[in-house]
């Protein structure tokens, strides 16, 4: 006997993510899910942008990693509220842990909440954590073939930050190819070429972030 079910396999995750969104809405917080490979510079990008965003906005960070509190320590050092979530064996931030992490933050003082996902291009783009926007972080040493290899993330991302642009003379990476591949996976993302290390190109990205807060 066959029984038709037809259920979304992510429905449990989506239900928790919806609770997070509801809680954020009560306090007027916009949330950004930052997704990129390990070493693409997600934390460095936060370190380079938070001090400037903080001049006009309330900001905070939820840091996701398999192990260690190193990234949270880096954010804490620049004086921004941060909650570290260690996922243990999970390759993505589960929405349940993000919902719980909200308890560690003063939501009334926050306009923009950055959720730095575990370094991985696959699972974090599938499992929602309760974000309003997805930001994909790529870096030039990773090469220019990631967009077509991981189309899900780049199809869904609202912004794509191409980091480590200062290394272009030393690596094999054609930024033009990244841009044309983005068009070809139906991306509607804003694209920013930046260097978190030198500060090049950050103005545009920061302007976009400021524009997210009404």
């Amino acid at each position: 006997m066959e029984i038709r079910v037809v259920e979304n396999l992510l429905k449990a995750n989506e239900a928790v993510a919806a609770q997070t969104l509801e809680r954020l809405a009560k306090h007027g917080v916009r949330a950004i899910n930052m997704i990129g490979s390990a070493g693409s510079g997600k934390t460095a990008l936060l370190e380079a942008t938070l001090p400037r965003l903080r001049e006009s906005l309330g900001v905070a960070v939820i840091e996701g990693d398999l192990q260690t509190t190193r990234d949270a320590e880096r954010i804490d050092r620049i004086g921004v509220p941060v909650v570290q979530v260690t996922t243990g064996k999970s390759c993505h931030l589960p929405p349940q842990l993000v919902l719980r992490a909200l308890d560690g933050l003063d939501l009334d003082a926050i306009d923009l909440l950055f959720i730095e996902n575990v370094g991985n291009l696959i699972c974090p783009s599938e499992i929602p954590v309760g974000e309003h926007h997805k930001v994909a972080v790529l870096s030039t040493p990773e090469g220019d073939d990631k967009v077509l290899k991981y189309p899900m993330l780049f199809h869904l991302a609202d912004a794509v930050v191409i980091n480590k642009i200062d290394l272009l003379p030393h690596v094999t990476c054609d930024v033009g190819r990244i841009r044309s591949d983005l068009e070809q996976v139906g991306s509607r993302a804003q694209i920013f070429e930046v260097s978190a290390r030198t500060g090049e190109g950050l103005d545009g990205y920061i302007g976009w972030l400021l524009g997210l807060v009404g």
Partner: protein, 115 residues
């Protein structure tokens, strides 16, 4: 690694359906998975096998229907399936203004129950 997370969702959701509908022994679980999800069937089956041990679902077979990526062209309306890794361009008119209309599925479709 994401196959394990998906396998966990399958175990939880099928157990829930089995409980609520009073199903005794489930022999087959049919899934519809979009090509964009990059699910490796062998990894999903292995994950399910491990996670379903000691549950009423142990021994059930997983059958995956892979749904190809389909794009609909906004310029000319043609529907097409790009090969994985290739550009999402309309083969009819060459336009890049396309919308993905399938390929993102991650669905529990049906269950087969032993009579």
């Amino acid at each position: 690694m994401h196959e394990l997370a998906i396998a966990q969702s399958i175990v939880e959701q099928v157990e829930e359906v089995a409980r609520s509908q009073g199903l005794a022994k489930i022999s087959t679980i049919r899934l519809r998975i979009g090509a964009l999800r990059a699910v490796v069937p062998e990894a999903l089956e292995f994950g399910f096998e491990v996670l379903s041990q000691d549950t009423p679902l142990a021994g059930a077979r997983i059958v995956i229907e892979e749904i190809p990526i389909r794009i609909t062209c906004h310029e000319c309306g043609a529907i097409s399936s790009p090969e994985p890794g290739l550009a999402w361009l309309c083969p009819a008119c060459g336009s890049a203004v396309v919308e993905m209309t399938s390929g993102k599925e991650l669905q529990l479709d049906s269950l087969e129950v032993e009579d």
